[in-house]
Structures are given as structure tokens and as C-alpha cells.
């Protein structure tokens, strides 16, 4: 059990070590990485055939339990074996490849980190740990694709890859959260038991399965998530050889293999992945035939091969899928390493410029041609056996069988085209005799031998181990498949010889490629335009409200003089009325109230004055009488005098 723990721990430890302690020296860091991987490989024989697992509860929330654990069974063992062998050789190769590059420490550190995360992914028996490792692998891929920091397309490709995979990972996340909700734990064997014993409602099971499938498709660059992988070819070649051909992209296949009981429980899901895998394989092969850049051919080829693996899972044969994974890992990584060597020697990977380059480096012809024959499925090389296994699993499904045979033909076509152009043509310009570093050639050669004969070796072993999975194939079908492969290679050879590097499938290939690469673009643009539409709509509303408010202001301004005029008019009216009332008041005072008052006062005064007459004062009475008498007498005397004067 402790040994099992070391498998992922050693590379991760190496990664940390490189970053912290070996900062000065690039070579030592590379060696540390290689040693870690070598140790991991060395541990493998001790673990062979053991089924160990342990799981630790990490977090308990009410009745949900999150676990962490590692487990080893035949599936995991095969995967870690392949990963460690291929990683070891690619790392040794990388020592030579990265010799003149800057940033070696960063490279080897992330490389070891990737290897450790990949080991963790295949050994995890908890969805939580699997998901963490899944994301860690994506992060490592991102960091490695964008390794050449000065190149703009590296950053773009890395971001595209990361985001596209992330979008699919949402589905994966939802899927295992649903599992957690239903079973109350993140332990994978518990989940698979529950599925097998039928504890899940069928609707929920379909949903979970579909989401897991979407997550796997994203990581493995199947349709519709295919467009990131060709773009990721801007990474250094060791990265392409390890991550994007043999290990990271098959994580999706591993997930589907691990969750195989789901597919037996949900037959419709099997059909779905069968057809997705088949269509991807076919479309990938079509697009691969028209590529002009060697690594892009290999990228589309990887997509196509993984499609074949998924086709096998969908047809119900785990053994075929695993077998094809093993063989594809070997021959695809060999092809990539050879491509890297050509890149170092010739400085370019454009097929037009590489015509006949094989003459300058004949030693590379061995791995390349061996891998070509393996990929095309020619016996007795390994690809033949694994593709035969897939053929056996799909034989009962006639339309699928026909499409698969077409895919085999196209596989021969595209790889034959490249092989012929580079190694079997006459050179168009002069190449200098280049030489390759020691570290680069030998790993390539060794891996290529693996590519060549692993199939031969494994077939009887597999037959021994799992007799029940052996499906007999009719001789006719075998002959047809071999014939298809050979004819594919032949057509590729002839085409290049006579027509040069023109696109064999012409317009068809171009249209298919444009569609596959363009679909994510269109989706993103659609979402973006919806966003823009919403922003514009909101802007429109904003403007409308602003317009309304401003018009109201204008209206208010226009109304203001009117209101002021009213105000003035009312003021004038009031003032005039007031003046009028004041005048009336004065007039009334002068002409009416004052005279009346005066009259009243006068009468009152007269009364006051006359009051003593009535008061009973005798003096007053006597005075009045006297006065009156005197007046009368005076008046009469006067009158008498006047009369006498007149007489």
C-alpha cells in the first residue's frame, strides 16, 4: 500500500524539488525528473497483480462524506505502466530536446508535476481526488502549451485548450456532485456497486452518464470539443508526445473505462458514445488527410484514434479499448518524437519544405516507418492487433463497421502520405547532413520497437488473462481490414508520388475541417452577440429614460416663462386691485367717513355743550334768561331807533 502511495508522490516530489532546490541548474533538474519517473517504473513489478485500495474520509457534512483514496486494479495498473514507460522515454528525449532552450527548470518541474497528477488521476478511487487530478492535469497542460512565453499563438492556444476543457469539466463536476447527492459519498467503487445493484432511478442515471460522457469528451478532444488539440501543437514536442498523444487526452477514455458499469446499465449511453466515437474517428481521419504541418496531422490522428477507443467502449469491449490505448500510446509518441527530431534538424515541420528530408537523417526512418505501419494496422505490427480487437467488437453493427473500415482506409492514407513525402521522396532542395543529440535518438528508437511489437507480445498475454473477452473474427473480415489498411497506405504513397502534397480529398476535407474548427467559434460568437444584444438593449432603455427625463426638463423650461407671465399678471392684477381699494378707502375717508365723523363729533360736542342746560344748575338757567332778555331788549331798542329814524 505504501508503494502505491509512492507512485504519484515521487514525480510530484520531484516537481517541487526542481522548483525549490535546483533553481540554478537546468541539467540537474531534468535528471531529477527522470530519476523520479524511473523509480516509479521500478516500483511497478512489485505491484503487479495486486488489488489494493484504501480510502480515507476527508470531510463529513451531515450525511455526505467526501473521501480520498487510491486503489489499484488491472485497469489502473495498465494505465500507470504505459504512462511511466512512455514518460520515462519522453523525459530522456526532452533532456536533449530542451538543451538550448531557456526556462528548463520550469519545463521539467511542470513535466514532473504532470506525470504525478496523471498517476493520481488513474489511481484515484474518489471522485473528488479524480476531479482534482483532472484539473491539475489541465493546468499542467496549460502551462506547458504556453511554454514559449514570447509567442502569441502559444498563449492563445493554451487559453483555448484550458477553457474548452473547462467548459466540458462543468458537466463532469455536476455529474459527480449528483453522485454525491444520491449516494452520499464520493467513493467510486461504492457508486459502481450502487449502479450495478440498481439503486439509481433510471432518469437520474441517464443524466449522470451523459454528463460524465460530456466531461470525458472535452478532455479527449472529441467532437464537438476537438478544436483545441491541433492548436495545442505549438507546445514543445515532448509535451505533444506525452500529453497530447498518449496520456492526458486518454484521461477521458480512462474515465469511461472506469465507469463502464454505467454503460451496461444505460444502453442508450453506449449507443451515444459509440456513434460519437465513430463520427469523431471518421471526421478526424478526413481532416488529417489534408494537413500540411506534420504535427497537425498527428494531432488529428490522435483525435481519430481516441475516437476508435471510445467506439470500442460503446460497443461493449473494454479489452479492445485498453489494448488500443496501449498500442496508440507507443506508436503515436514515437511519431511525435520523430517529428520533434526532424524539427530540430530541419527547423521546420511544413511538409512542403520537408520533402525528401529522410535522406539527410536516415536513422529516423526506422522509428517513423515502424510507427506508420503500426498506425495503419499492418500485421504483424501492434496496431493490427488492437484494431482487430476493435473490429471484432463492432462487427455486429453493420453501418458502424462500414464507417470504421473507411476510417482505417483514411488512417493509412494520411500517414502514408506523410511518410512518403518525408522519407520516400526525392529531396527538392539540398539538406545538410544533420546530426541529433544522443539523448534524442535512442529513446525514440526504443519506443519505436515498443510500437512495433508490443502488440505481438500483448495479444497472447491478454488472451491468457481474459479468455472471456476473446471474440473470434471471421477470416473474411480480417482480410478486408488488412486490405483496407494496405490500400490506404498505397493510395497515400501513389498520390504523393504523382500529385505531390495536394489535398487528396480536396473540397470535402476543407469543408469538414472548417466546420469542426468553426463550431466552437460560432458558439462563442453567438453567446457574445447575445451579450452585446443585451448590453445594447440596456443601453437603449437607458437612453430612452434619459431622453424622457431631458424632454421633461425642456418642457419645464419652456413652461417657466408662461408661469412667470401668469405670476406677473396676477401680481399686477392684485397690485391694481390693491391700489384701487386704497383709493376707494381714501375717497371714502375724505368724502364720507370724515364728514360723517365730524358731523357726529360736532353734534356730540354740541350736546356736551348743551348738557349743562339740562343739568338743573339754576345759575345756568338764570344766565340764559338774562342773556335772552338783554338780547330781546337790545334788539327791540335797535328796531325802535331804526323805525324812528326811518320816520
Amino acid at each position: 500500500m505504501i508503494l502505491l502511495f509512492f507512485i504519484p508522490a515521487l514525480p510530484l516530489l520531484a516537481s517541487v524539488l526542481i522548483l525549490t532546490m535546483l533553481r540554478k541548474d537546468g541539467q540537474k533538474s531534468a535528471v531529477a525528473g527522470v530519476i523520479a519517473t524511473a523509480f516509479t517504473l521500478a516500483l511497478l513489478p512489485f505491484l503487479f497483480g495486486k488489488n489494493v485500495s484504501s480510502s480515507v474520509p476527508w470531510l463529513q457534512l451531515n450525511h455526505y462524506q467526501l473521501t480520498i483514496g487510491l486503489s489499484l486494479d488491472m485497469l489502473s495498473f495498465i494505465f500507470i505502466s504505459v504512462i511511466s514507460i512512455v514518460s520515462l522515454f519522453v523525459q530522456i528525449y526532452a533532456i536533449g530536446y530542451m538543451k538550448e532552450e531557456t526556462g528548463k527548470i520550469r519545463f521539467f518541474s511542470i513535466f514532473s508535476f504532470f506525470i504525478g497528477s496523471m498517476m493520481l488521476l488513474v489511481l484515484a478511487n474518489s471522485f473528488l481526488l479524480l476531479f482534482v487530478a483532472w484539473e491539475a492535469v489541465s493546468v499542467a497542460s496549460f502551462l506547458l502549451i504556453s511554454f514559449y512565453l514570447t509567442r502569441e499563438e502559444s498563449k492563445r492556444a493554451a487559453l483555448t485548450a484550458f477553457i474548452m476543457i473547462r467548459v466540458a469539466d462543468v458537466a463532469l463536476f455536476v455529474a459527480w456532485l449528483l453522485v454525491l447527492l444520491q449516494t452520499g459519498t464520493t467513493n467510486i467503487p461504492t457508486f459502481l456497486n450502487a449502479v450495478a445493484t440498481g439503486q439509481f432511478a433510471s432518469g437520474m442515471l441517464i443524466v449522470i452518464t451523459v454528463f460524465f460522457v460530456i466531461g470525458a469528451l472535452g478532455k479527449s478532444a472529441q467532437l464537438p470539443f476537438s478544436s483545441w488539440l491541433p492548436g495545442a501543437m505549438v507546445a514543445p514536442t515532448p509535451v505533444s508526445a506525452l500529453l497530447h498523444s498518449a496520456t492526458m487526452v486518454v484521461a477521458g477514455v480512462y474515465l469511461l473505462l472506469r465507469l463502464f458499469p454505467l454503460f451496461t446499465a444505460v444502453p442508450v449511453a453506449s449507443q451515444i458514445i459509440l456513434w460519437i466515437g465513430l463520427v469523431t474517428a471518421l471526421v478526424g481521419a478526413i481532416i488529417a488527410t489534408g494537413q500540411m504541418h506534420m504535427k497537425r496531422v498527428l494531432a488529428w490522428s490522435t483525435i481519430s484514434q481516441i475516437g476508435e477507443m471510445i467506439l470500442a467502449i460503446g460497443s461493449g469491449s473494454i479489452i479492445a479499448a485498453m489494448f488500443h490505448f496501449i498500442t496508440q500510446a507507443f506508436f503515436k509518441s514515437t511519431l511525435f518524437l520523430t517529428a520533434g527530431s526532424i524539427d530540430k534538424a530541419a527547423g521546420t515541420l511544413e511538409l512542403e519544405k520537408l520533402k525528401g528530408f529522410g535522406r539527410a537523417l536516415p536513422i529516423l526512418a526506422i522509428p517513423f516507418l515502424l510507427s506508420t505501419l503500426a498506425l495503419a494496422g499492418i500485421p504483424p505490427f501492434s496496431g493490427f492487433f488492437s484494431e482487430e480487437a476493435i473490429l471484432a467488437s463492432v462487427a455486429k453493427n453493420t453501418p458502424a463497421l462500414i464507417l470504421f473500415l473507411i476510417t482505417l482506409f483514411l488512417a493509412g492514407l494520411y500517414i502514408g502520405r506523410v511518410a512518403t513525402a518525408v522519407f520516400l521522396s526525392k529531396p527538392t532542395h539540398k539538406f545538410n547532413n544533420a546530426s541529433l543529440p544522443f539523448f534524442m535518438t535512442y529513446p525514440t528508437l526504443i519506443l519505436s520497437f515498443g510500437a512495433a511489437d508490443i502488440g505481438l507480445v500483448l495479444k497472447p498475454i491478454l488472451l491468457l488473462l481474459l479468455p472471456s473477452q476473446n471474440e473470434t473474427l471471421s477470416l473474411l473480415l480480417r482480410l478486408i481490414s488488412v486490405g483496407t489498411s494496405i490500400s490506404g497506405l498505397a493510395i497515400g504513397f501513389i498520390y504523393v508520388k504523382f500529385f505531390g502534397l495536394k489535398n487528396p480529398l480536396g473540397r470535402v476535407q476543407q469543408i469538414v475541417e472548417r466546420v469542426v474548427l468553426g463550431v466552437p467559434n460560432i458558439t462563442v460568437q453567438a453567446v457574445q452577440s447575445i451579450g452585446t444584444l443585451l448590453v445594447n438593449l440596456e443601453q437603449l432603455f437607458d437612453d430612452l429614460v434619459r431622453l424622457l427625463v431631458s424632454q421633461t426638463f425642456v418642457l419645464v423650461e419652456k413652461l417657466q416663462p408662461v408661469e412667470v407671465a401668469f405670476d406677473d399678471g396676477a401680481l399686477k392684477f392684485a397690485t391694481n386691485t390693491f391700489t384701487l381699494s386704497q383709493i376707494t378707502d381714501k375717497a371714502e375717508n375724505i368724502w364720507f367717513s370724515n364728514p360723517v365723523d365730524t358731523l357726529g363729533n360736532t353734534i356730540m360736542l354740541a350736546g356736551i355743550r348743551l348738557k349743562p342746560l339740562q343739568q338743573g344748575k339754576t345759575y345756568n338757567y338764570l344766565s340764559a334768561i338774562l342773556l335772552w332778555t338783554v338780547l330781546i331788549l337790545g334788539a327791540s331798542a335797535f328796531l325802535l331807533i331804526i323805525i324812528s329814524v326811518i320816520r
Binding site: K611, Q614, Q615, G616, K617, T618, Y619, L622, S623, L626
Partner: protein
């Protein structure tokens, strides 16, 4: 009778006027009611004196003025008696002969 008076007529008239004036003054200015009656008496006297003076100097032969004089005196006496009687009555009510106190017609 041809009696001679060495005092001419105007002196008699002047005296009668002065007496009349004093009588008026007394009536108007005196407080006591008895004194007012005396003033009235004075005024009567002045009038008689005025009449007699005019008889003596204008028509001495006509003795109607003498009759007039007796009449006037009689009247004045009667009037005096009446006045005193009224005054006595008033005094019984008021316990005073002050004229200023007889104002009961209207007091404001």
C-alpha cells in the same frame, strides 16, 4: 304841585340801573336761596324806583304809577312769601339752603 327836584332824572335812572344790576348779580352769584330772594327784591325795588322817577319827571299829575308801585310791592311780597314757603319745603328735604345742591333735574 309844582315841587322842584334838584336831582335831575338820569341820576335816578342811573341809581335804579345800578340797583337792578346788583340785583341781577346777587341772583346769579349767590349760593344761598334766601340771598337770591333778596336779589329779586332788589330788582323789584329798582324797577319801582325807575317807574317812580319816570312818573315824577314825565307825568307828575297822573297817579297811576303810584298805584303801579303799590302793586309791585304787593306782588313782590306775595312772591317773597311763596318763595320762602318753597324754600322752607326744600330745606326740609335737603337740610341746606345752598342753591348748588338743588340739581335733581338731571345729573350727568
Amino acid at each position: 304841585m309844582n315841587l322842584v327836584l334838584t336831582i335831575p332824572l338820569p341820576f335816578f335812572l342811573a341809581v335804579a340801573a345800578v340797583l337792578f344790576a346788583i340785583g341781577i348779580y346777587t341772583v346769579l352769584a349767590q349760593r344761598s336761596a334766601v340771598m337770591i330772594l333778596m336779589g329779586i327784591e332788589l330788582m323789584f325795588t329798582a324797577i319801582v324806583l325807575n317807574a317812580i322817577a319816570f312818573w315824577r319827571f314825565v307825568t307828575p299829575q297822573d297817579f297811576s304809577t303810584q298805584l303801579f308801585a303799590i302793586l309791585v310791592i304787593t306782588v313782590s311780597t306775595i312772591e317773597m312769601a311763596v318763595g320762602l314757603a318753597v324754600m322752607m319745603l326744600a330745606y326740609r328735604n335737603k337740610r341746606s339752603v345752598n342753591m348748588d345742591k338743588f340739581e335733581e333735574v338731571h345729573e350727568t
